[in-house]
Symmetry: C2
Subunit: 307 residues, 2 copies
Protein backbone atom coordinates (compact mmCIF):
# COMPACT_ATOMS: atom_id res chain seq x y z
CA UNK A 1 0.00 0.00 0.00
CA UNK A 2 1.03 3.53 -0.78
CA UNK A 3 1.38 4.68 2.83
CA UNK A 4 3.97 2.05 3.60
CA UNK A 5 1.77 -0.03 5.91
CA UNK A 6 1.97 -3.77 5.31
CA UNK A 7 -1.28 -5.40 4.31
CA UNK A 8 -0.19 -8.90 5.24
CA UNK A 9 -2.61 -11.14 7.11
CA UNK A 10 0.24 -13.21 8.62
CA UNK A 11 1.85 -10.06 9.98
CA UNK A 12 -1.46 -8.71 11.25
CA UNK A 13 -2.38 -11.89 13.13
CA UNK A 14 0.10 -11.34 15.97
CA UNK A 15 -0.99 -7.73 16.32
CA UNK A 16 -4.65 -8.72 16.36
CA UNK A 17 -3.93 -11.40 18.97
CA UNK A 18 -2.01 -9.03 21.25
CA UNK A 19 -4.59 -6.28 20.84
CA UNK A 20 -7.47 -8.60 21.67
CA UNK A 21 -5.70 -9.97 24.75
CA UNK A 22 -4.69 -6.49 25.86
CA UNK A 23 -8.28 -5.31 25.77
CA UNK A 24 -9.45 -8.37 27.74
CA UNK A 25 -6.80 -7.54 30.37
CA UNK A 26 -7.75 -3.84 30.49
CA UNK A 27 -11.39 -4.71 31.00
CA UNK A 28 -10.63 -7.27 33.71
CA UNK A 29 -8.15 -5.00 35.57
CA UNK A 30 -10.76 -2.24 35.76
CA UNK A 31 -13.33 -4.77 37.00
CA UNK A 32 -11.06 -6.37 39.63
CA UNK A 33 -9.92 -3.02 41.05
CA UNK A 34 -12.09 -1.43 43.75
CA UNK A 35 -14.31 1.44 42.61
CA UNK A 36 -13.15 4.98 43.33
CA UNK A 37 -16.17 5.99 45.38
CA UNK A 38 -15.44 3.67 48.32
CA UNK A 39 -13.96 5.18 51.52
CA UNK A 40 -11.11 6.27 51.69
CA UNK A 41 -11.23 7.32 48.02
CA UNK A 42 -7.59 8.41 47.65
CA UNK A 43 -6.18 4.87 47.90
CA UNK A 44 -8.50 3.62 45.16
CA UNK A 45 -7.68 6.59 42.96
CA UNK A 46 -3.99 5.86 43.51
CA UNK A 47 -4.38 2.15 42.74
CA UNK A 48 -6.35 2.87 39.57
CA UNK A 49 -4.00 5.68 38.50
CA UNK A 50 -1.06 3.28 38.25
CA UNK A 51 -2.77 0.06 37.17
CA UNK A 52 -4.88 1.69 34.46
CA UNK A 53 -2.01 3.72 32.99
CA UNK A 54 -1.73 1.52 29.93
CA UNK A 55 1.39 -0.48 29.31
CA UNK A 56 2.02 -3.59 27.25
CA UNK A 57 0.41 -5.98 29.76
CA UNK A 58 3.22 -8.38 28.88
CA UNK A 59 2.92 -10.53 32.02
CA UNK A 60 -0.86 -11.10 31.84
CA UNK A 61 -0.64 -11.85 28.10
CA UNK A 62 2.24 -14.31 28.67
CA UNK A 63 0.16 -16.03 31.35
CA UNK A 64 -2.85 -16.40 29.04
CA UNK A 65 -0.73 -17.39 26.02
CA UNK A 66 1.02 -20.09 28.09
CA UNK A 67 -2.34 -21.49 29.21
CA UNK A 68 -3.45 -21.64 25.56
CA UNK A 69 -0.14 -23.19 24.48
CA UNK A 70 -0.88 -26.24 26.64
CA UNK A 71 -4.52 -26.47 25.57
CA UNK A 72 -6.11 -24.35 28.34
CA UNK A 73 -8.45 -21.37 28.18
CA UNK A 74 -7.10 -17.82 28.44
CA UNK A 75 -10.32 -16.73 30.17
CA UNK A 76 -9.81 -19.21 33.02
CA UNK A 77 -6.45 -17.75 34.03
CA UNK A 78 -7.53 -14.11 33.58
CA UNK A 79 -7.76 -13.39 37.37
CA UNK A 80 -4.24 -14.76 37.85
CA UNK A 81 -3.04 -12.72 34.87
CA UNK A 82 -4.47 -9.58 36.51
CA UNK A 83 -2.91 -10.44 39.88
CA UNK A 84 0.48 -10.60 38.12
CA UNK A 85 -0.14 -7.12 36.71
CA UNK A 86 -1.10 -5.80 40.18
CA UNK A 87 2.25 -7.06 41.49
CA UNK A 88 4.13 -5.61 38.52
CA UNK A 89 2.41 -2.25 39.06
CA UNK A 90 3.13 -2.18 42.81
CA UNK A 91 6.82 -2.75 42.01
CA UNK A 92 6.83 0.19 39.59
CA UNK A 93 5.19 2.50 42.17
CA UNK A 94 7.78 1.60 44.82
CA UNK A 95 10.70 1.70 42.33
CA UNK A 96 9.71 5.25 41.33
CA UNK A 97 9.74 6.55 44.94
CA UNK A 98 12.21 9.32 45.86
CA UNK A 99 14.08 6.87 48.15
CA UNK A 100 14.54 4.52 45.16
CA UNK A 101 14.84 5.68 41.53
CA UNK A 102 13.10 9.04 42.17
CA UNK A 103 11.23 9.08 38.87
CA UNK A 104 8.66 11.77 38.08
CA UNK A 105 7.29 10.14 34.94
CA UNK A 106 6.08 6.65 34.11
CA UNK A 107 4.43 5.81 30.80
CA UNK A 108 4.27 9.53 30.13
CA UNK A 109 2.20 10.26 33.25
CA UNK A 110 3.23 11.67 36.64
CA UNK A 111 4.27 8.87 39.00
CA UNK A 112 2.15 7.94 42.00
CA UNK A 113 4.10 9.91 44.60
CA UNK A 114 4.03 13.03 42.40
CA UNK A 115 0.22 12.88 42.26
CA UNK A 116 -0.69 11.49 45.69
CA UNK A 117 2.38 12.08 47.88
CA UNK A 118 4.96 9.60 49.10
CA UNK A 119 2.86 8.17 51.92
CA UNK A 120 -0.09 7.28 49.71
CA UNK A 121 2.23 5.96 46.96
CA UNK A 122 3.87 3.57 49.43
CA UNK A 123 0.44 2.48 50.66
CA UNK A 124 -0.96 2.12 47.11
CA UNK A 125 1.92 -0.24 46.33
CA UNK A 126 1.30 -2.18 49.54
CA UNK A 127 -2.42 -2.35 48.74
CA UNK A 128 -1.81 -3.66 45.20
CA UNK A 129 0.63 -6.34 46.34
CA UNK A 130 -1.85 -7.49 49.00
CA UNK A 131 -4.78 -7.28 46.59
CA UNK A 132 -2.97 -9.60 44.17
CA UNK A 133 -3.12 -12.38 46.78
CA UNK A 134 -6.70 -11.48 47.64
CA UNK A 135 -7.64 -11.84 43.98
CA UNK A 136 -5.69 -15.11 43.59
CA UNK A 137 -7.46 -16.71 46.57
CA UNK A 138 -11.04 -15.68 45.73
CA UNK A 139 -13.46 -18.59 45.89
CA UNK A 140 -15.04 -17.52 42.57
CA UNK A 141 -12.47 -19.50 40.57
CA UNK A 142 -12.55 -22.73 42.57
CA UNK A 143 -14.68 -24.44 39.91
CA UNK A 144 -12.09 -23.86 37.16
CA UNK A 145 -8.86 -23.49 39.16
CA UNK A 146 -8.39 -26.42 41.58
CA UNK A 147 -7.28 -25.29 45.11
CA UNK A 148 -4.14 -27.44 45.11
CA UNK A 149 -3.01 -25.98 41.77
CA UNK A 150 -3.89 -22.44 42.84
CA UNK A 151 -1.87 -22.80 46.05
CA UNK A 152 1.15 -24.02 44.06
CA UNK A 153 0.85 -20.98 41.79
CA UNK A 154 0.44 -18.57 44.73
CA UNK A 155 3.64 -20.07 46.15
CA UNK A 156 5.46 -19.68 42.82
CA UNK A 157 4.30 -16.08 42.44
CA UNK A 158 5.31 -15.15 46.01
CA UNK A 159 8.75 -16.67 45.38
CA UNK A 160 9.15 -14.67 42.16
CA UNK A 161 7.94 -11.41 43.70
CA UNK A 162 9.87 -11.56 46.98
CA UNK A 163 13.50 -11.60 48.05
CA UNK A 164 14.16 -14.72 45.94
CA UNK A 165 13.18 -12.74 42.84
CA UNK A 166 11.97 -9.22 42.16
CA UNK A 167 12.69 -7.65 45.57
CA UNK A 168 16.14 -9.31 45.66
CA UNK A 169 16.92 -7.91 42.21
CA UNK A 170 15.78 -4.44 43.21
CA UNK A 171 17.93 -4.56 46.36
CA UNK A 172 21.05 -5.30 44.32
CA UNK A 173 19.98 -2.71 41.74
CA UNK A 174 19.66 0.17 44.25
CA UNK A 175 22.88 -0.90 45.93
CA UNK A 176 24.75 -0.96 42.60
CA UNK A 177 23.74 2.52 41.41
CA UNK A 178 26.81 4.60 40.66
CA UNK A 179 29.17 1.68 41.24
CA UNK A 180 31.24 -0.40 38.83
CA UNK A 181 29.17 -3.50 38.25
CA UNK A 182 30.37 -6.73 36.68
CA UNK A 183 28.49 -8.92 34.27
CA UNK A 184 27.52 -11.43 36.93
CA UNK A 185 25.87 -8.74 39.06
CA UNK A 186 24.05 -7.26 36.07
CA UNK A 187 22.81 -10.74 35.17
CA UNK A 188 21.66 -11.22 38.78
CA UNK A 189 19.71 -7.94 38.70
CA UNK A 190 18.05 -8.65 35.36
CA UNK A 191 17.06 -12.25 36.04
CA UNK A 192 15.61 -11.33 39.46
CA UNK A 193 14.21 -7.85 39.04
CA UNK A 194 12.40 -8.42 35.75
CA UNK A 195 13.05 -12.02 34.77
CA UNK A 196 11.48 -13.78 37.76
CA UNK A 197 8.02 -12.27 37.28
CA UNK A 198 8.10 -12.95 33.52
CA UNK A 199 9.06 -16.58 34.10
CA UNK A 200 6.35 -17.06 36.72
CA UNK A 201 3.74 -15.48 34.44
CA UNK A 202 4.42 -18.18 31.84
CA UNK A 203 4.65 -20.94 34.45
CA UNK A 204 1.44 -19.91 36.23
CA UNK A 205 -0.58 -20.05 33.01
CA UNK A 206 0.81 -23.48 32.17
CA UNK A 207 0.42 -24.97 35.66
CA UNK A 208 -3.14 -23.68 36.05
CA UNK A 209 -4.05 -25.18 32.67
CA UNK A 210 -2.79 -28.53 33.95
CA UNK A 211 0.39 -28.79 31.86
CA UNK A 212 2.66 -31.82 32.30
CA UNK A 213 6.01 -31.33 34.04
CA UNK A 214 8.04 -31.40 30.79
CA UNK A 215 5.81 -28.77 29.20
CA UNK A 216 6.19 -26.56 32.30
CA UNK A 217 9.97 -27.04 32.12
CA UNK A 218 10.09 -26.06 28.43
CA UNK A 219 7.91 -23.00 29.09
CA UNK A 220 10.10 -22.04 32.04
CA UNK A 221 13.14 -22.07 29.72
CA UNK A 222 11.17 -19.99 27.20
CA UNK A 223 10.31 -17.50 29.96
CA UNK A 224 13.91 -17.21 31.14
CA UNK A 225 15.23 -16.61 27.62
CA UNK A 226 12.48 -14.26 26.46
CA UNK A 227 12.54 -12.43 29.81
CA UNK A 228 16.25 -11.71 29.63
CA UNK A 229 15.96 -10.74 25.95
CA UNK A 230 13.17 -8.35 26.91
CA UNK A 231 15.26 -6.72 29.62
CA UNK A 232 18.35 -6.28 27.43
CA UNK A 233 16.18 -4.82 24.69
CA UNK A 234 14.73 -2.41 27.29
CA UNK A 235 18.30 -1.36 28.11
CA UNK A 236 18.97 -0.85 24.38
CA UNK A 237 15.79 1.22 23.96
CA UNK A 238 16.84 3.32 26.95
CA UNK A 239 20.07 4.15 25.13
CA UNK A 240 18.79 4.69 21.62
CA UNK A 241 14.99 4.56 21.67
CA UNK A 242 12.78 7.59 21.34
CA UNK A 243 11.49 9.05 24.58
CA UNK A 244 7.90 9.32 23.37
CA UNK A 245 7.62 5.57 22.78
CA UNK A 246 9.11 4.70 26.15
CA UNK A 247 7.18 7.34 28.08
CA UNK A 248 10.38 8.21 29.91
CA UNK A 249 13.60 10.03 29.21
CA UNK A 250 16.09 8.31 26.89
CA UNK A 251 19.45 7.78 28.50
CA UNK A 252 17.95 8.04 31.98
CA UNK A 253 19.67 4.82 33.12
CA UNK A 254 23.11 6.19 32.22
CA UNK A 255 22.37 9.58 33.79
CA UNK A 256 21.43 7.82 37.02
CA UNK A 257 24.62 5.77 37.04
CA UNK A 258 22.72 2.53 36.38
CA UNK A 259 24.62 -0.15 34.63
CA UNK A 260 23.08 -1.60 31.47
CA UNK A 261 23.99 -4.32 28.98
CA UNK A 262 24.92 -1.83 26.22
CA UNK A 263 27.20 0.02 28.67
CA UNK A 264 28.83 -3.21 29.79
CA UNK A 265 29.19 -5.15 26.53
CA UNK A 266 28.48 -2.61 23.80
CA UNK A 267 25.40 -1.95 21.69
CA UNK A 268 26.14 -4.39 18.87
CA UNK A 269 26.93 -7.28 21.21
CA UNK A 270 23.79 -6.51 23.22
CA UNK A 271 21.66 -6.70 20.08
CA UNK A 272 23.32 -9.98 19.09
CA UNK A 273 22.66 -11.38 22.55
CA UNK A 274 18.99 -10.37 22.35
CA UNK A 275 18.58 -12.09 18.97
CA UNK A 276 20.30 -15.23 20.24
CA UNK A 277 18.07 -15.36 23.34
CA UNK A 278 14.93 -14.94 21.22
CA UNK A 279 16.06 -17.80 18.94
CA UNK A 280 16.63 -19.97 22.03
CA UNK A 281 13.21 -19.02 23.39
CA UNK A 282 11.56 -20.10 20.15
CA UNK A 283 13.60 -23.33 20.16
CA UNK A 284 12.35 -24.08 23.68
CA UNK A 285 8.86 -24.27 22.15
CA UNK A 286 9.86 -26.80 19.45
CA UNK A 287 7.61 -29.56 20.85
CA UNK A 288 4.54 -27.30 20.98
CA UNK A 289 2.00 -27.01 18.14
CA UNK A 290 0.38 -23.91 16.60
CA UNK A 291 -1.28 -23.09 19.91
CA UNK A 292 2.12 -21.81 21.10
CA UNK A 293 2.31 -19.38 18.15
CA UNK A 294 1.39 -16.36 20.31
CA UNK A 295 4.36 -17.12 22.58
CA UNK A 296 6.56 -17.28 19.45
CA UNK A 297 5.13 -13.94 18.25
CA UNK A 298 5.79 -12.31 21.62
CA UNK A 299 9.45 -13.42 21.53
CA UNK A 300 9.83 -12.10 17.98
CA UNK A 301 8.21 -8.80 18.94
CA UNK A 302 11.06 -8.23 21.39
CA UNK A 303 13.56 -8.09 18.53
CA UNK A 304 11.28 -6.04 16.30
CA UNK A 305 10.79 -3.21 18.78
CA UNK A 306 14.54 -2.63 19.07
CA UNK A 307 15.31 -2.60 15.34
CA UNK B 1 6.29 -13.97 99.57
CA UNK B 2 8.45 -11.29 101.07
CA UNK B 3 9.40 -9.62 97.78
CA UNK B 4 5.79 -8.92 96.91
CA UNK B 5 5.55 -11.37 94.00
CA UNK B 6 2.40 -13.44 94.03
CA UNK B 7 2.96 -17.16 94.45
CA UNK B 8 -0.40 -18.16 93.04
CA UNK B 9 -0.51 -21.02 90.59
CA UNK B 10 -3.71 -19.67 88.98
CA UNK B 11 -2.06 -16.30 88.38
CA UNK B 12 1.13 -17.87 87.09
CA UNK B 13 -0.66 -20.11 84.60
CA UNK B 14 -1.49 -17.31 82.14
CA UNK B 15 2.09 -16.00 82.31
CA UNK B 16 3.50 -19.47 81.77
CA UNK B 17 1.16 -20.04 78.82
CA UNK B 18 2.06 -16.74 77.14
CA UNK B 19 5.77 -17.25 77.77
CA UNK B 20 5.72 -20.76 76.34
CA UNK B 21 3.80 -19.65 73.25
CA UNK B 22 6.05 -16.62 72.80
CA UNK B 23 9.16 -18.80 72.79
CA UNK B 24 7.57 -21.19 70.25
CA UNK B 25 6.86 -18.18 68.02
CA UNK B 26 10.37 -16.73 68.42
CA UNK B 27 11.92 -20.05 67.48
CA UNK B 28 9.64 -20.50 64.45
CA UNK B 29 10.09 -16.91 63.21
CA UNK B 30 13.86 -17.33 63.26
CA UNK B 31 13.52 -20.64 61.42
CA UNK B 32 11.09 -19.36 58.76
CA UNK B 33 13.17 -16.26 57.99
CA UNK B 34 15.96 -16.62 55.43
CA UNK B 35 19.48 -16.85 56.83
CA UNK B 36 21.65 -13.74 56.78
CA UNK B 37 24.42 -15.22 54.69
CA UNK B 38 22.39 -15.52 51.48
CA UNK B 39 22.93 -12.95 48.71
CA UNK B 40 22.12 -10.03 48.95
CA UNK B 41 22.73 -10.09 52.72
CA UNK B 42 21.35 -6.63 53.55
CA UNK B 43 17.71 -7.56 52.83
CA UNK B 44 17.90 -10.58 55.14
CA UNK B 45 19.59 -8.53 57.85
CA UNK B 46 16.81 -5.95 57.49
CA UNK B 47 14.04 -8.58 57.62
CA UNK B 48 15.56 -10.22 60.70
CA UNK B 49 16.28 -6.87 62.40
CA UNK B 50 12.58 -5.99 62.49
CA UNK B 51 10.98 -9.42 62.89
CA UNK B 52 13.33 -10.57 65.64
CA UNK B 53 13.09 -7.34 67.66
CA UNK B 54 10.93 -8.91 70.34
CA UNK B 55 7.40 -7.71 70.87
CA UNK B 56 4.40 -9.37 72.42
CA UNK B 57 3.68 -11.67 69.44
CA UNK B 58 0.02 -10.97 70.17
CA UNK B 59 -1.25 -11.96 66.71
CA UNK B 60 0.56 -15.33 66.49
CA UNK B 61 -0.47 -16.21 70.06
CA UNK B 62 -4.11 -15.28 69.33
CA UNK B 63 -4.00 -17.50 66.25
CA UNK B 64 -2.66 -20.47 68.21
CA UNK B 65 -4.97 -19.86 71.19
CA UNK B 66 -8.01 -19.72 68.88
CA UNK B 67 -7.01 -23.03 67.28
CA UNK B 68 -6.73 -24.58 70.75
CA UNK B 69 -10.05 -23.05 71.84
CA UNK B 70 -11.86 -25.09 69.16
CA UNK B 71 -9.92 -28.28 69.87
CA UNK B 72 -7.06 -27.85 67.37
CA UNK B 73 -3.29 -27.99 67.81
CA UNK B 74 -1.28 -24.79 68.24
CA UNK B 75 1.66 -26.41 66.46
CA UNK B 76 -0.37 -27.01 63.29
CA UNK B 77 -1.17 -23.32 62.79
CA UNK B 78 2.33 -22.09 63.72
CA UNK B 79 3.35 -21.25 60.12
CA UNK B 80 0.17 -19.18 59.70
CA UNK B 81 0.83 -17.52 63.06
CA UNK B 82 4.31 -16.54 61.84
CA UNK B 83 2.95 -15.27 58.52
CA UNK B 84 0.64 -12.96 60.49
CA UNK B 85 3.66 -11.63 62.40
CA UNK B 86 5.56 -11.05 59.12
CA UNK B 87 2.65 -8.93 57.89
CA UNK B 88 2.42 -7.06 61.20
CA UNK B 89 6.17 -6.37 61.07
CA UNK B 90 6.09 -5.15 57.46
CA UNK B 91 3.34 -2.69 58.44
CA UNK B 92 5.48 -1.34 61.31
CA UNK B 93 8.50 -0.87 59.01
CA UNK B 94 6.43 1.08 56.46
CA UNK B 95 4.55 3.06 59.17
CA UNK B 96 7.87 4.20 60.64
CA UNK B 97 9.19 5.58 57.31
CA UNK B 98 9.96 9.31 57.04
CA UNK B 99 7.08 9.72 54.56
CA UNK B 100 4.69 8.23 57.15
CA UNK B 101 5.13 8.55 60.94
CA UNK B 102 8.89 9.25 60.72
CA UNK B 103 9.80 7.27 63.82
CA UNK B 104 13.41 6.68 64.83
CA UNK B 105 12.71 4.12 67.55
CA UNK B 106 10.61 0.98 67.69
CA UNK B 107 10.66 -1.35 70.67
CA UNK B 108 13.67 0.60 71.92
CA UNK B 109 15.73 -0.11 68.81
CA UNK B 110 16.48 2.10 65.79
CA UNK B 111 13.84 1.65 63.09
CA UNK B 112 14.63 -0.10 59.82
CA UNK B 113 15.24 3.03 57.73
CA UNK B 114 17.55 4.44 60.40
CA UNK B 115 19.73 1.33 60.20
CA UNK B 116 19.46 0.34 56.53
CA UNK B 117 18.25 3.47 54.72
CA UNK B 118 14.82 4.26 53.33
CA UNK B 119 15.20 2.21 50.16
CA UNK B 120 16.10 -1.02 51.96
CA UNK B 121 13.42 -0.40 54.62
CA UNK B 122 10.74 -0.10 51.94
CA UNK B 123 12.04 -3.27 50.27
CA UNK B 124 12.33 -5.16 53.58
CA UNK B 125 8.65 -4.40 54.22
CA UNK B 126 7.75 -5.50 50.69
CA UNK B 127 9.78 -8.69 51.15
CA UNK B 128 8.10 -9.55 54.46
CA UNK B 129 4.59 -9.01 53.10
CA UNK B 130 5.40 -11.22 50.10
CA UNK B 131 7.14 -13.81 52.28
CA UNK B 132 4.00 -14.13 54.42
CA UNK B 133 2.10 -15.45 51.40
CA UNK B 134 5.05 -17.63 50.42
CA UNK B 135 5.02 -19.19 53.88
CA UNK B 136 1.24 -19.61 53.88
CA UNK B 137 1.27 -21.47 50.57
CA UNK B 138 4.18 -23.85 51.27
CA UNK B 139 3.36 -27.44 50.45
CA UNK B 140 4.90 -28.61 53.77
CA UNK B 141 1.60 -28.04 55.61
CA UNK B 142 -0.74 -29.70 53.11
CA UNK B 143 -1.03 -32.83 55.28
CA UNK B 144 -2.34 -30.88 58.28
CA UNK B 145 -3.85 -27.78 56.64
CA UNK B 146 -6.26 -28.73 53.82
CA UNK B 147 -5.77 -26.63 50.63
CA UNK B 148 -9.37 -25.38 50.53
CA UNK B 149 -9.16 -24.16 54.14
CA UNK B 150 -5.73 -22.61 53.58
CA UNK B 151 -6.98 -20.71 50.54
CA UNK B 152 -9.92 -19.35 52.54
CA UNK B 153 -7.52 -18.17 55.24
CA UNK B 154 -5.13 -16.60 52.70
CA UNK B 155 -8.13 -14.72 51.33
CA UNK B 156 -9.19 -13.58 54.81
CA UNK B 157 -5.66 -12.45 55.67
CA UNK B 158 -5.26 -10.53 52.39
CA UNK B 159 -8.58 -8.79 53.05
CA UNK B 160 -7.51 -7.82 56.58
CA UNK B 161 -4.06 -6.62 55.48
CA UNK B 162 -5.09 -4.65 52.38
CA UNK B 163 -7.23 -1.62 51.62
CA UNK B 164 -10.27 -3.27 53.25
CA UNK B 165 -8.34 -3.39 56.53
CA UNK B 166 -4.89 -2.38 57.67
CA UNK B 167 -3.81 -0.33 54.63
CA UNK B 168 -7.20 1.42 54.54
CA UNK B 169 -6.84 2.31 58.24
CA UNK B 170 -3.31 3.61 57.73
CA UNK B 171 -4.45 5.76 54.77
CA UNK B 172 -7.09 7.47 56.92
CA UNK B 173 -4.59 7.73 59.78
CA UNK B 174 -1.92 9.56 57.75
CA UNK B 175 -4.58 11.78 56.20
CA UNK B 176 -6.02 12.67 59.61
CA UNK B 177 -2.76 13.71 61.25
CA UNK B 178 -3.02 17.28 62.58
CA UNK B 179 -6.73 17.51 61.72
CA UNK B 180 -9.81 17.54 63.92
CA UNK B 181 -11.06 13.98 63.83
CA UNK B 182 -14.48 12.78 64.96
CA UNK B 183 -15.26 9.61 66.86
CA UNK B 184 -16.45 7.80 63.74
CA UNK B 185 -13.14 8.41 61.94
CA UNK B 186 -11.11 7.35 64.98
CA UNK B 187 -13.19 4.18 65.19
CA UNK B 188 -12.60 3.58 61.47
CA UNK B 189 -8.82 3.95 61.91
CA UNK B 190 -8.64 1.67 64.96
CA UNK B 191 -10.84 -1.12 63.63
CA UNK B 192 -8.97 -1.17 60.29
CA UNK B 193 -5.39 -0.32 61.14
CA UNK B 194 -5.02 -2.63 64.16
CA UNK B 195 -8.35 -4.38 64.58
CA UNK B 196 -8.56 -6.16 61.24
CA UNK B 197 -5.30 -8.12 61.66
CA UNK B 198 -6.18 -9.04 65.26
CA UNK B 199 -9.60 -10.31 64.19
CA UNK B 200 -8.14 -12.31 61.31
CA UNK B 201 -5.49 -13.83 63.60
CA UNK B 202 -8.23 -15.30 65.77
CA UNK B 203 -10.37 -16.32 62.78
CA UNK B 204 -7.47 -17.98 60.94
CA UNK B 205 -6.61 -20.17 63.92
CA UNK B 206 -10.24 -21.24 64.31
CA UNK B 207 -10.90 -21.85 60.59
CA UNK B 208 -7.70 -23.86 60.14
CA UNK B 209 -8.61 -26.01 63.14
CA UNK B 210 -11.93 -26.78 61.44
CA UNK B 211 -14.21 -24.73 63.71
CA UNK B 212 -17.95 -24.65 63.00
CA UNK B 213 -19.47 -21.43 61.63
CA UNK B 214 -21.02 -20.38 64.97
CA UNK B 215 -17.69 -20.83 66.78
CA UNK B 216 -15.93 -18.75 64.11
CA UNK B 217 -18.62 -16.05 64.52
CA UNK B 218 -18.19 -15.98 68.32
CA UNK B 219 -14.39 -15.82 67.99
CA UNK B 220 -14.71 -13.03 65.41
CA UNK B 221 -16.76 -11.02 67.93
CA UNK B 222 -14.12 -11.76 70.59
CA UNK B 223 -11.41 -10.54 68.22
CA UNK B 224 -13.26 -7.32 67.40
CA UNK B 225 -13.87 -6.48 71.07
CA UNK B 226 -10.43 -7.48 72.36
CA UNK B 227 -8.75 -5.82 69.35
CA UNK B 228 -10.44 -2.47 69.96
CA UNK B 229 -9.77 -2.73 73.71
CA UNK B 230 -6.13 -3.39 72.93
CA UNK B 231 -5.89 -0.32 70.70
CA UNK B 232 -7.59 2.02 73.17
CA UNK B 233 -5.31 0.71 75.93
CA UNK B 234 -2.33 1.40 73.63
CA UNK B 235 -3.58 4.99 73.29
CA UNK B 236 -3.87 5.21 77.08
CA UNK B 237 -0.35 3.84 77.56
CA UNK B 238 0.92 6.38 75.05
CA UNK B 239 -0.53 9.15 77.25
CA UNK B 240 0.40 7.89 80.69
CA UNK B 241 2.57 4.79 80.31
CA UNK B 242 6.28 4.74 80.92
CA UNK B 243 8.47 5.12 77.89
CA UNK B 244 10.75 2.24 78.79
CA UNK B 245 7.92 -0.29 78.75
CA UNK B 246 6.59 0.95 75.42
CA UNK B 247 9.99 1.26 73.80
CA UNK B 248 8.92 4.62 72.40
CA UNK B 249 8.34 8.13 73.65
CA UNK B 250 5.30 8.72 75.86
CA UNK B 251 2.96 11.35 74.45
CA UNK B 252 4.38 10.85 70.96
CA UNK B 253 0.88 10.50 69.46
CA UNK B 254 -0.19 13.89 70.83
CA UNK B 255 3.07 15.57 69.78
CA UNK B 256 2.49 14.31 66.26
CA UNK B 257 -1.08 15.62 66.14
CA UNK B 258 -2.52 12.11 66.13
CA UNK B 259 -5.95 11.76 67.58
CA UNK B 260 -6.41 9.16 70.33
CA UNK B 261 -9.33 7.90 72.43
CA UNK B 262 -8.11 9.64 75.61
CA UNK B 263 -7.83 12.94 73.69
CA UNK B 264 -11.29 12.52 72.20
CA UNK B 265 -13.33 11.12 75.12
CA UNK B 266 -11.09 11.63 78.15
CA UNK B 267 -8.87 9.23 80.09
CA UNK B 268 -11.47 7.92 82.54
CA UNK B 269 -14.04 7.23 79.83
CA UNK B 270 -11.37 5.51 77.72
CA UNK B 271 -10.49 3.21 80.59
CA UNK B 272 -14.16 2.44 81.18
CA UNK B 273 -14.61 1.65 77.51
CA UNK B 274 -11.60 -0.70 77.56
CA UNK B 275 -12.98 -2.58 80.57
CA UNK B 276 -16.42 -2.86 78.95
CA UNK B 277 -14.92 -4.19 75.71
CA UNK B 278 -12.86 -6.79 77.59
CA UNK B 279 -16.00 -7.94 79.47
CA UNK B 280 -17.80 -8.25 76.15
CA UNK B 281 -14.89 -10.19 74.68
CA UNK B 282 -15.00 -12.67 77.56
CA UNK B 283 -18.80 -12.95 77.21
CA UNK B 284 -18.35 -13.80 73.51
CA UNK B 285 -16.52 -16.92 74.70
CA UNK B 286 -19.34 -18.07 77.02
CA UNK B 287 -20.08 -21.24 75.03
CA UNK B 288 -16.41 -22.33 75.02
CA UNK B 289 -14.89 -24.62 77.65
CA UNK B 290 -11.57 -24.35 79.51
CA UNK B 291 -9.64 -24.64 76.25
CA UNK B 292 -10.60 -21.00 75.58
CA UNK B 293 -9.01 -19.89 78.88
CA UNK B 294 -5.88 -18.51 77.16
CA UNK B 295 -8.11 -16.24 75.05
CA UNK B 296 -9.81 -15.09 78.28
CA UNK B 297 -6.39 -14.45 79.88
CA UNK B 298 -5.23 -12.42 76.89
CA UNK B 299 -8.32 -10.19 77.09
CA UNK B 300 -7.78 -9.68 80.83
CA UNK B 301 -4.11 -8.87 80.29
CA UNK B 302 -5.20 -5.87 78.20
CA UNK B 303 -6.82 -4.28 81.27
CA UNK B 304 -3.99 -5.24 83.61
CA UNK B 305 -1.26 -3.57 81.58
CA UNK B 306 -3.05 -0.19 81.70
CA UNK B 307 -3.81 -0.20 85.44
Amino acid sequence: MGDGKRDNSEALKPQAYLKEKQSRVEEALARFLPAEDVFPPVIFRAMRHSVLAGGKRLRPILCMAAAEAVGGEAETVLPVACALEFIHTYSLIHDDLPAMDDDDLRRGRPTSHKVFGEDIAILAGDALLTEAFHLLSRSDWRATLPPERLLAVIHDIAAAAGFRGMVGGQVVDVQSAGKAVDRETLHYIHTRKTGAMIVVSVRAGAILAGAAADAVAALTAYGEQAGLAFQISDDILNVEGDARRLGKTTGSDAARGKITYPALMGLAASKRKTRRLVRQAVTSLKDFDHRADPLRWIATYIIQRQS
